[in-house]
């Protein structure tokens, strides 16, 4: 009996040993900093970049426009930028989803070595430096860049198309940077797709469109949802892509946050914007978790009903 208890105690001790490093690391250098960001968002900006330790809700007022005080005024510009960032993130999700979806089917039809190599080839660009991937699009899109030079020498246009510093450039850059995140979850759900259901639907006379809408789409929905979530989140806060490909034309929320911290030195307002992003991310993650859980329990119920 006491031997059993010794083993128990030893297990508890080794568990504590295994878990303490990550607990300390994430507690001190992740959760506390995020907490401080939230606290900062309620502090008054001081002179020359400092903060004044007094409760100051007007950073949020400046952003969302409720009764204002403390020298801050509602600036509708910021809410507009926030919506603009949402728009760009949504567009990035939709375009990368449309681009990746057929590719997932293409790869899932392959077999053996070819399939593994293809998965590897699609994953690899993710490990090329982010800046270099953006830099490549600078080379392609700028007035004297590859695309314009080609179009001019082929005689399609006589003066360079204006592609740099446009919404188009930012979207292309974001899609290019985040597309590896979209592919893998979609591929995983296509790979699990039960083709006998597709066959059955076709045998029963459903049109290809019906089969797609009623069978293939719902069965691959988890992958679509997963991919969309992990593309949307980094796209929402991104500031490197718009700062190089959007110039002063496209200002997203990430650019504003960067400026508040490194140039304007208004840390509380920067923290406010960051807290808003954090809040959106947590909401999305929570919705995603609830969504997958309810679809799991639904299919579990269905399974039980059938059995």
């Amino acid at each position: 009996m006491s031997g059993h208890r010794t083993i128990e105690r030893e297990r508890t001790r080794s568990l504590a040993l295994l878990l303490s490093p990550i607990t300390l690391l994430l507690g001190i250098f992740f959760l506390i900093p995020l907490g401080i960001t939230i606290v900062y968002s309620f502090l008054e900006p001081g002179m020359y970049g400092g903060v004044v330790w007094s409760f100051f809700p007007y950073n949020y007022g400046r952003l969302f426009g409720w009764p204002i005080g403390g020298g801050e005024e509602f600036e509708p510009l910021y809410i507009q930028i926030l919506f603009n960032s949402l728009k760009y993130a949504v567009l990035t999700v939709i375009i990368s989803l449309v681009l990746c979806y057929p590719v997932a089917f293409w790869v899932s039809r392959m077999t053996g070595m070819v399939k593994n190599l293809m998965l590897f080839a699609i994953t690899l660009p993710f490990f090329a430096n982010l800046l270099i991937r953006i830099y490549a699009w600078l080379l392609l899109l700028r007035p004297t860049g590859t695309i314009n030079s080609a179009l001019i020498s082929l005689g399609f246009v006589d003066k360079p198309l204006n592609m740099m510093f446009t919404e188009f450039a930012v979207i292309v850059g974001m899609v290019y940077v985040f597309i590896p995140f979209m592919f893998l979850p979609i591929y995983a759900s296509v790979e699990r797709l039960d083709w006998s259901l597709v066959q059955a639907s076709q045998d029963l006379g459903a049109s290809p469109l019906q089969t797609f809408r009623r069978i293939i789409l719902p069965l691959t929905a988890p992958g679509i949802l997963g991919g969309s979530t992990i593309v949307f989140i980094p796209a929402l806060g991104n500031f490197i892509v718009p700062s190089f490909l959007g110039g002063s034309k496209v200002q997203l929320i990430g650019n504003v946050i960067e400026r508040q911290f490194l140039q304007a030195r208004n840390w509380p307002f920067g923290s406010t914007l960051s807290t808003v992003i954090m809040g959106s991310v947590m909401t999305i993650v929570l919705l995603y978790a609830l969504g997958t859980r309810s679809s799991f329990s639904r299919s579990a119920r269905k399974g039980a009903g059938n059995g």
């Binding site: 900093p33 401080i36 293409w106 690899l124 090329a128 270099i132």
Partner: protein
């Protein structure tokens, strides 16, 4: 018959589409590679002969053509120092993260404890949180705590998300692993430490090393978080490239980009291979 023909037309279309997708992924990178050997100093889009000059100027083996170019690469010492900073950060951050991440993976996959689900959820957050949010949170924290921004703060910052990354990679390995040997070892009277050292660790080693290599590359290539917590005196290779890009597009950037991509791809391929390797 008609249906069969439709199917094969569809398959052909899918092939064409898939190849276009690969071209989309790789042509921008191939373009940099080709441009890095183009002798034309003013317009990269026009080929004017093959040269190694951009690689040579990068390492000070050849004087830069103009004062403007010289300002880019400054001196070879500068780039070597930047590379050294990056390697120091990437090696220490990925090593620490591999130890912490592996320990965490073992705890969550081999033990039952109160609040385990919450732990598992929180462990995913540092990877999900947008880089800019984590970057400024760490900046506020380090400045508030009076830590001088520099290599140490970069290493700490990288550890927060890399540990979680290694945790995910190693967990995948542990979950798919056969636990019979571990049980047999325990039944034969081996202590937990012996079982871990003699059985578990050798079996999960490919996952651990794979996780280490992938963490190493992610750290080496990190831009956004490093950007906020590096401070004014410390530069890593990505920050150096960022500064170069802000000054303008120059052929030297192509050469540096090719070298960095080649290095990243070699290390990441090894990591991906080890991660996917079966027992």
């Amino acid at each position: 018959m008609a249906k069969w023909r439709n199917a094969s037309v569809g398959a052909a279309a899918l092939n064409v589409y898939g190849i276009f997708f690969l071209v989309f992924l790789y042509s921008p990178l191939v373009l940099i590679f080709v441009y890095s050997f183009n002798a034309n100093p003013t317009n990269m889009a026009i080929w004017s002969g093959f040269t190694f000059d951009w690689y040579r100027t990068l390492f000070g083996m050849q004087p830069a053509a103009s004062a403007f170019d010289a300002a880019f690469t400054e001196s070879p010492d500068r780039i070597f120092q930047v590379v050294r900073n990056s390697l120091v950060v990437a090696l220490s951050a990925s090593f620490i993260s591999t130890v912490i991440g592996t320990a965490t993976a073992i705890a969550t996959s081999r033990y039952q404890f109160f609040g385990k689900q919450l732990y598992q959820a929180v462990l995913l957050l540092p990877m999900i949180m947008p880089d800019i949010v984590l970057g400024i949170a760490l900046l506020i924290f380090f400045v508030g705590a009076g830590l001088k921004l520099g290599l140490l703060t970069i290493v700490i910052g990288h550890c927060t998300f890399l540990s979680c990354y290694v945790y995910v990679v190693v967990t995948a390995r542990l979950v798919s692993m056969d636990t019979t040997l571990e049980k047999a070892s325990a039944d034969l009277g081996a202590g937990p430490l012996t079982t871990f050292r003699r059985i578990t660790l050798p079996l999960i080693m490919p996952g651990v090393v794979g996780g280490f290599l992938l963490a190493f590359i992610i750290s080496l290539d990190d831009v956004v978080i490093t950007y906020f917590i590096a401070g004014v005196d410390t530069q890593t290779l990505p920050l150096f490239i960022l500064a170069m890009m802000r000054r303008g597009i120059r052929p030297q950037i192509n050469a540096l980009a090719v070298l960095l991509i080649a290095f990243s791809f070699v290390v990441a391929s090894t990591g991906l291979y080890l991660r996917s390797k079966r027992n």
